[in-house]
């Protein structure tokens, strides 16, 4: 008896679903008909310059960052009440694969968050809308520098819009413990090494690294490479014009190898980024070489009573050699516009908004954010750590802005570099890592 009931339920459910599905299809057809009919007019701006219509925007922030981004989007909706924004949140780990599949299938979002490596790949497939006018205006206004434009561009054409910036190569420390050890934040490489040796002599662990998450190791490689080999070699590795066995690159690996051999904790590969951050906060290690976002993470994940600037602060990694030009390693999130968007006017309006000082100031106020737009005033930042990080942002054209190397290259080379750095932590074998990278980077051989 019970069985019969169960079966009939299954059948009924199937029928209901089929019926719903049938109805849904018609509805969908009507809906898509609507968009097709009204889609084209949407694409033009109305007489007063406002935009309207539907617009999808994809991002992968979560938690407090998601809340901050929602506040930014709310600002756009307020200014453009006729635009219906569809928010598409995607898990960070799936972002690249999902974006690629959707764009390849022709169903990508109108506006999406994206890293420069993917911009390069997508631009080559003509998936993205060129943003020349926008950038011409920004450069004229002095909102961005040319080296920032270059990062958002492929072969001279800008496709990306800077939104969320970050400064790398920061050494985080606890001022009180520095006082106990009798050391000062170093300004030269020699002083830096002296400080590290002082810590070791005092029986302290100098660094927390977080090598089990792969990317923290690249946070080391980038500034070391930039300082030791200089900006030209750095950018040469990005675009494939410099080989990984270039003497300057080899020297950078040797410098990193010495740092690892002398100052890395023995269980570097057993801890991830958050554990490393908390280990430094707790005093298990003295220093952490990381990006500006540690300011947010240290409070959010380890101890919410920390006072920025007092309980934790940073100094920029010192210049390796006085003769090398000033460099600043950075990273951050850009946005790009789908070349096949049904609503190009609203999409470029959103892109322009996200790159504007107004939009970026909204998140900057919430903290854990460095505004890439140089016109965002420094008094919007909520604490001294964010403020000092923002001052390091390469707003001055004389400072070369070097974008996160592996994120910029992307793909197989990125993955292999990260894995090779883990191996390098174990054996510090310069020849091996150079060979691995030469093998995988086939661009220079053509």
């Amino acid at each position: 008896m019970r069985i019969r009931v169960a079966i009939s339920m299954v059948l009924v459910l199937t029928l209901v679903l089929a019926a719903c599905g049938g109805g849904g299809r018609e509805e969908a057809a009507v809906e898509s008909g609507d968009t097709a009919a009204t889609g084209a007019p949407d694409a033009t701006t109305t007489s007063d310059g406002a935009v309207e219509g539907e617009l999808s925007v994809m991002f992968s922030w979560t938690g407090s960052e998601q809340e901050a981004f929602e506040a930014v989007l709310a600002g756009f909706e307020e200014a453009n009440p006729d635009v219906t924004l569809e928010r598409v949140q995607i898990p960070f780990g799936e972002l690249n694969a999902q974006l690629t599949q959707q764009f390849a299938a022709g169903s990508g979002p109108d506006v999406t968050v994206v890293l420069p490596g993917l911009i390069r790949l997508f631009a080559a497939q003509e998936f993205l809308m060129p943003l020349d006018d926008l950038w011409a205006q920004w450069l004229e206004d002095g909102a961005y520098t040319e080296s920032l434009q270059a990062i958002a561009s492929v072969e001279g054409t800008p496709y990306g819009v800077w939104f969320k910036g970050n400064v790398n190569g920061l050494v985080w420390y606890t001022p009180e413990r520095f006082a106990d050890l009798g050391v000062e934040p170093p300004t030269t490489w020699e002083d830096f090494i002296t400080v590290l040796d002082t810590m070791k002599e005092a029986g302290e662990e100098p660094f927390a690294v977080g090598g089990s998450d792969l990317w923290p190791l690249t946070q080391w490689w980038d500034p070391v490479l930039a300082e030791v080999a200089g900006p030209d070699v750095f950018n040469g590795l990005v675009d494939g014009s410099v080989s990984w066995d270039d003497p300057a690159v080899v020297e950078a690996f040797e410098v990193l190898g010495d740092l690892i051999a002398n100052y890395y904790p023995a269980d570097t590969l057993d801890r991830g980024f958050v554990e490393a951050t908390c280990a430094r906060v707790d005093g298990a290690a003295q220093l952490q070489l990381q990006g500006a976002f540690v300011n947010l993470v240290a409070r959010g994940e380890c101890d919410d009573s920390l006072v920025p600037g007092e309980d934790y602060a940073f100094f920029p990694i010192p210049q390796y050699d006085d003769s090398t030009p000033a460099v600043q390693t950075i990273s951050g999130d850009l946005f790009a516009v789908n070349a096949n968007t049904a609503n190009p006017a609203a999409a470029s309006a959103l892109a322009e908004y996200l790159g504007s000082a107004d939009a970026q100031a909204i998140w900057a106020e919430q903290g854990g954010f460095v505004a890439p737009n140089t016109q965002v005033p420094s008094d919007v930042y909520p604490d001294v750590n964010d403020q000092q990080a923002a001052e390091l942002w390469p707003a001055d054209p004389s400072v070369a802005a070097l974008y996160d190397l592996d994120d910029f290259i992307g793909g197989e080379i990125q993955t292999v570099l990260r894995e090779a750095l883990q191996q390098f932590v174990r054996d510090q074998d310069v020849d091996a890592i150079v060979n691995t990278m030469v093998d995988v980077d086939t661009r220079i051989r053509g």
């Binding site: 089990s212 590969l269 057993d270």
Partner: protein
């Protein structure tokens, strides 16, 4: 074919006499709902994958049967490249560790637990729930939870080893082992030509924890089919527990055992989420299994067109497993008249 027809004629006289045509039509009515979904959404994409392994392509410009401009035919080059790559063989070794260890652990443990629960008069449902609970957690979340477990600072395992004073490290030439660094370097057996790295075992434990509930459910369902008379008879005969299990339960549980063993072998071969979430195949490539390798080739190495290589890896995996399971599969298809 003739053989099977004869047998069915014998077992099902009513249909056999009435007309084979009707019986066939009826059979298709029975199977068509499943086959339509299967062919449309599994077989057809799978065939695409099979053919795609003969082409060079990437996720950016996927090989598409309807678009000849995407056909960059390379023949068996993807297979040659795969079989000559050190990275592939490293993944094979790690997958083999899974294939040997995981099914044995799952089958033995879930059978043991099911029989224990079957023997207790009450509380069975409660105990079963303890084992089924992990199954309800997605494998990705299970991966995150096990990352907490192995955490070097506040992980349960680390702290327990500390508290109980169980920490030790051994270094016997080719074998090293330590009760620390579970996810980076717990130890290794160096065989000269290859290395068996224990970090894989750390991951297998996480999968084992998540998967045992499946075995418990299957064995429990199988145990319900054990006729009470058999058990009663054994008790009257004064059979001891051990003998009863060996001579009555185990033969009765052959069906569920096959299911659990087969599905855990397939799970081990395709294992992905746990590894991807916990180590991403690292450190370096210490725990990279085949499914992780092909995921990276198809979905991460976007700049180099390696999706064809990934499909070749998938085909090689499938062929080897089907080949290994061939005698058993033949048996199954024969029984399914």
């Amino acid at each position: 074919m003739t053989d099977t027809t004869e047998r069915s004629d014998r077992t099902l006289p009513a249909e056999g006499v009435g007309g084979d045509g009707d019986g066939r039509r009826l059979a298709y009515l029975f199977i068509s709902p499943l086959l339509v979904a299967f062919v449309l959404f599994y077989l057809w994409p799978a065939l695409n994958t099979l053919v795609g392994s003969l082409f060079r392509w990437s996720l950016l410009s996927p090989w598409n049967i309807a678009r000849p401009d995407t056909w960059d035919f390379v023949g068996v080059q993807n297979y040659v490249d795969t079989l000559t790559s050190g990275r592939f063989w490293n993944a094979v070794v790690n997958t083999l560790i899974w294939l040997v260890v995981f099914p044995v652990m799952v089958t033995v443990m879930s059978m043991l637990v099911s029989i224990l629960i079957w023997q207790v008069p009450r509380g069975g449902a409660l105990f079963r729930t303890a084992f089924i609970l992990p199954m309800t957690i997605s494998l990705a979340a299970a991966g995150v939870i096990w990352t907490f477990m192995y955490d070097p600072d506040f992980g349960v395992l680390t702290r327990f080893v500390e508290w109980a004073g169980l920490g030790f490290a051994v270094d016997w030439g080719p074998l090293t082992f330590q009760t620390a660094d579970w996810l980076s370097n717990p130890g290794v057996i160096d065989l000269g030509f290859t290395q068996i790295r224990f970090v894989n075992l750390s991951l297998i434990v996480a999968g084992f924890w998540a998967f045992t509930g499946f075995g418990v459910i299957t064995f429990t369902a199988g145990l319900t089919a054990v006729p009470d008379e058999l058990v009663e008879a054994a008790k009257v005969d004064g059979a001891r527990t051990g003998q009863m299990i060996r001579h009555i339960l185990i033969p009765q549980l052959r069906g569920p055992m096959t299911i659990v063993a087969t599905i855990s072998v397939i799970f081990a071969l395709r294992t992905f989420d746990v590894v991807w979430v916990i180590t991403q195949g690292g450190p370096a490539q210490d725990s990279e299994v085949l499914a992780v390798l092909l995921w990276k080739q198809a979905f991460v190495f976007l700049d180099s067109p390696q999706a064809g290589l990934a499909t070749a890896v998938a085909i090689i995996m499938s062929v080897v497993l089907i080949g290994g399971a061939w005698p058993y599969l033949r048996g199954m298809t024969r029984v399914a008249r």
